[in-house]
Symmetry: C2
Subunit: 153 residues, 2 copies
């Protein structure tokens, strides 16, 4: 993970970790070790199709028993990670690259994000937010106008 010349605090200080807080862990899952696709789809509120799609994009690789998919706890954490990154506005392609860059680093269920990349993403979302707010304000203005004229009538 680090070269020997670099002081470790600098390398670490510039990295944001996606998915380290357990706050969004939906269910404790008890002592279960494997999960079916239906179980995980229900738990995370996504469709079977979505999980199969993430797999086709290389983001998941559940075990196969005959033709059936069996997901481990690690797969389950991976799903949580994917969905979290999606909420942060990353595309599946980007998430795939982050997973790939992270794979084998044994950093558990989290993705590294440079401070700069994080700042860029904040910019992306802020622009989207701006556009949405503009449209919303316009709609509300229109709605207020028509409600006003309804009162006057």
């Amino acid at each position: 993970m680090q070269t020997c010349e670099q002081p470790s605090f600098l390398l670490n200080a510039d990295i944001v970790w996606v998915g380290e807080d357990a706050s969004d862990r939906s269910q404790p899952a008890g002592n279960k070790v494997t999960f079916t696709i239906t179980e995980l789809a229900a738990e995370f509120g996504v469709t079977l199709r979505a999980l199969r799609f993430y797999e086709s994009k290389g983001l998941l690789a559940p075990i196969r028993i005959d033709r059936m998919r069996l997901y481990t706890r690690t797969d389950r954490e991976r799903i949580a990670l994917i969905l979290k990154a999606k909420r942060l506005g990353f595309t599946l392609t980007e998430i795939g690259q982050m997973i790939e860059a992270q794979d084998g680093r044994a950093d558990g269920p989290s993705l590294r994000l440079s401070r700069e990349r994080c700042a860029d993403q904040i910019g992306v979302l802020e622009r989207q937010l701006q556009d949405l707010e503009t449209g919303l304000a316009e709609l509300k203005r229109m709605h207020a106008t028509v409600s006003q004229s309804a009162v006057e009538a």
Copy 2:
């Protein structure tokens, strides 16, 4: 929408008009009567492909001189209307239906929207806004955390 017993002011009072304010008219266009696709694309900041795509969806129908498209002032206003409705979060399909419902009513370059429909759309955008704000807050929290640890190091 309403039975004939309803007084007409109610009919009108319950309708919002999309595209009535001239505030977003980008250019006066001088005394030009027709426009090329490149001119209008540049004026509205969209691609040629986008304007052709809107046409393929039935939202536009410019005159043809040989194979070339020639847009009138009415087409130009129609484009402004489409882009405005898009900013309000409507899909091209929805915009097409609104245009179709409006076509021939001689209400000029504007679309009717029921008060209820308007309220629904406000709800749609507010949910999107909520999701965006949640993700953005999360990203900012992460960024603040890493910047903080960089200072401490």
